[in-house]
Amino acid sequence: MEFNLKIWRQKDARSQGGFIDYNLKGVSGEMSFLEMIDYLNKTLIEGGEEPVAFEHDCREGICGSCSLYINGRPHGPEDLIATCELRMTRFKDGDTIVIEPWRAKSFPVLKDLIVDRYAFDKIMQAGGFISVNTGAAPEANSIPVSKEAADEAYDAAICIGCGACVAACKNSSAMLFVAAKVSQLSLLPQGKAETAKRARAMVEKMDELGFGSCTNTTACETECPKGISMAHIARLNREFLLAGLKS
């Protein structure tokens, strides 16, 4: 297959950057999207050019590092997958593919298609944990958890922190990510105790870091590779409002 690629190239965080066109021949349908870029990079290196910088690690949809905005959609045209799981068969021979980095004030571009997602770590540091004294791990079955709560917590826990929710949102809101974290912990007995404090701290940090305010368009939910539901955003809102009433 042959593709016309339009890729955002930017030397470093301070440079301007712009789109560069590449015509790539000899792509096979079995290639993943990232393998297609590997292949492009090989041809670039052979031609003495700088390869396109992009993030990747596990290449099986579990680490959340791949982060490409493809033809107007984070992680490309298919639902419920990360960029690394996208196959080139999804495109037609001769297609033009526009590849951009995540765009948000809170995710500045570092180089080409790589953005700085440290803001997510800062939100996690603000409250995305359970305060426990270290020591021997307690007996797992001593705290009963209902099947429903465990399932619902799991649905939130599968968030891989990729940031597609922010990239998709017209307001660059991080609500789905924060909701997944708050929801997961508040559903389990170990995390419940600190829910109010956690919800408040993480939302405050999210606001402070310049993410926008959610307007419930549900773009995040549709683009999330893990299908994190809006229902978690509702739970975050609920916990935050209850925290406000208690204070």
């Binding site: 339009k6 809170s106 939302v203 999210m206 305010s213 307007t215 549709t222 683009e223 739970r235 935050f240």
Partner: protein, 224 residues
């Protein structure tokens, strides 16, 4: 409390609470409008009741506060949201992932607000400060609001304006109704579907009600 209002979710809380209040007001308003179909006396009497001291002295300030909170906080959020993506995407494809209404709530709200100004000057302003006819019902002098309203509804472009506004309002409600519940946290996987259905039904009733009544008077004017 101040940290609550400073937070994005706190402001959204105010937008949704005021939105739900305005949504419930729409039902009352439509109920009153239905009396237009009952003729001059029935409408004039309900309008007279609505304008009595204790109803209006509670309703008017509450409505004013409701509108102000809704407009101020949603404008603030919309404006601050504009700066969260300084570098725009070259292509954005949200046609399948989000509804048009959800992406254009501010525009829709703005159109409804423009209509509201015209609507208030048409009726509210006239009833408060204009020259009104009075009719006596059982010894009580009552403003002839019926003639004022139905006269407006014989002007085709006024009716067109009302129908268009009902359409914009409907689109605003289509997203706003369920969105308000989501923001208040009164929403989960089961209620999501239910709220969507209730929201759609409510929107249909409101939009149809507010557009069909003016249309009825326009058609009646040209056919009788």
């Amino acid at each position: 409390m101040s940290s609550f209002i400073n937070a994005s979710i706190g402001k959204k809380f105010l937008v949704s609470i005021s939105g739900l209040f305005l949504i419930s007001f729409l039902a009352v308003h439509l109920f009153v409008n239905l009396f237009l179909l009952g003729g001059q006396e029935s409408y004039n009497l309900i309008a007279h009741f609505m304008a009595t001291d204790y109803v209006i002295s509670v309703m008017e300030p509450m409505l004013a506060i409701g509108f102000l909170l809704h407009i101020i906080y949603s404008s603030y959020l919309t404006i601050t949201n504009q700066s969260t993506r300084p570098h725009k995407y070259k292509i954005v494809d949200q046609s399948d992932t989000t509804s048009w209404a959800s992406r254009n709530m501010f525009v829709l709200g703005g159109l409804v607000l423009i209509f509201l100004v015209i609507h208030l000057s048409n009726f509210w302003f006239q009833m408060q400060f204009g020259e009104m006819e009075y009719i006596e019902y059982g010894g009580v002098m009552v403003q002839d609001a019926y003639s004022l309203v139905t006269a407006k509804f014989t002007i085709w472009w006024q009716v067109l304006l009302y129908v268009a506004a009902a359409g914009f309002l409907g689109l605003h409600l289509l997203h706003g109704f369920q969105s308000a519940f989501l923001t208040l946290g009164l929403y989960n996987k089961i209620w999501r579907q239910r709220l969507m259905v209730i929201g759609i039904l409510y929107t249909i009733v409101i939009t149809a009600g507010f557009s069909l009544i003016p249309l009825y008077f326009l058609i009646a004017h040209y056919t009788t």
